[in-house]
């Protein structure tokens, strides 16, 4: 760098562009693919009647329909949203869920995704989602569900699936897909004998005993698809 005098000139900060900034990788390149979102949406649509039956037994009967509405909304934006960086993609998914699902599940799943988006902001941009990172995002999501629902495990809710599945995921840095699936399934089965203390089912008291929790059932379905995707991506 010199002018006509031949003397070296100081390099002005504003003029230095040694490298173009790395473009942040889209969510699909770090593991949040349209295939995953569409698979989860399909699973929820296929389960619409089953979730509805579970919710009719101990709730207001709309969980299947609400989750199906959310599934269609998510499937509708899946191809677009995975082109955005991970935190933005998760945030858009969260807002879409809040604004489409309704019921009690919309704010719960929506808060979960919005908290995962915030947690994703603290990860290195473009970092691929490996099991330890998934566990960190998931933990943030679970905390948000607990706060929003003012609940925890043992109240016959989706937390009875989300929390043990997260524990199984966190137990090892290598994905033990079978362990996570087994924990989710055991968590769901465990809601059967529970007496609900949160959500609409709580009004039924002892009569809620003997029925699986519909929110736990939808959570188990979603976890199944997420674990499939992480496993396939390895």
């Amino acid at each position: 760098m010199s002018d006509r005098t031949g003397r070296p000139q100081p390099v002005r900060a504003g003029c230095r562009r040694p490298f173009a900034p790395d473009p942040v990788r889209p969510a699909r390149a770090v593991g949040l693919t349209a295939d995953l979102l569409e698979a989860a949406a399909r699973a929820l649509l296929q389960a619409e009647d089953r979730l509805g039956v579970l919710d009719t037994a101990i709730g207001d009967g709309d969980h299947g329909r609400n989750m199906a509405r959310g599934a269609r909304a998510v499937a509708g934006i899946a191809r677009d949203v995975v082109e955005r960086p991970l935190p933005e993609a998760l945030h858009r998914l969260g807002m879409t869920v809040v604004n489409s699902v309704g019921g009690a599940a919309g704010p719960l799943y929506g808060s979960c995704l919005l908290a995962m988006a915030q947690a994703a902001e603290t990860e290195a941009p473009g970092r691929p989602i490996d099991p330890p990172m998934l566990a960190r995002l998931w933990a943030a999501g679970v905390e948000a569900v607990k706060r929003r629902g003012r609940s925890d495990v043992g109240a016959k809710t989706m937390l009875d699936v989300l929390v043990p599945a997260l524990a199984a995921l966190s137990a090892s840095p290598r994905l033990t897909a079978e362990a996570v699936r087994a924990a989710a399934e055991a968590g769901l089965a465990g809601t059967g004998p529970m007496r609900a203390t949160k959500g609409r089912a709580a009004y039924l008291g002892d009569r809620s005993v003997g029925h699986l929790d519909p929110g736990a059932a939808s959570a188990a379905l979603i976890i199944e698809r997420v674990i499939d995707a992480v496993e396939a991506g390895r």
Partner: protein, 127 residues
């Protein structure tokens, strides 16, 4: 006239939201702004975050907005709706932990008398 606290009634049922607003109007007439929001966009039973947010925005007052809710989803969807407001507005919107009809009547009479948001909320909750 100084700004009065407004009311938003959030029910799973459009009929309950409308009926509660009618009862509030009978008590306090047009002295405060009150709006009901019930059901989902397709008219079915439930609550919907964007509808609640729009309702809050439609009656927003510098004195604040007291929100009365019926069952769980009404409360959590109202929380999400409030969080989506501009932060300066969100600080002036509060959900009352009260029975929807009784709470709405108590909150409305208090708000019509010119009470601040905290007093309106307490009136609803102490009923």
């Amino acid at each position: 006239m100084t700004a009065r606290v407004s009311l938003v009634i959030v029910s799973h049922s459009p009929g309950i939201a409308r009926g509660t607003v009618d009862m509030v109007r009978q008590m306090v007439g047009d002295e405060i702004a009150v709006v009901g929001v019930g059901g989902r966009p397709d008219g079915s039973l439930g609550t919907d975050c964007p509808m609640i947010r729009a309702a809050i925005e439609s009656v927003y007052s510098k004195a604040g907005v007291a929100v009365l809710v019926d069952l769980g989803g009404a409360e959590t969807n109202s929380e999400m709706a409030i969080e989506q407001l501009p932060p300066a507005w969100a600080d002036r919107v509060t959900i009352c932990d009260a029975a929807i009809v009784e709470g709405a009547i108590m909150a409305a009479t208090e708000a019509a008398a010119g009470a601040d948001l905290d007093a309106v909320r307490r009136a609803a909750e102490e009923y």
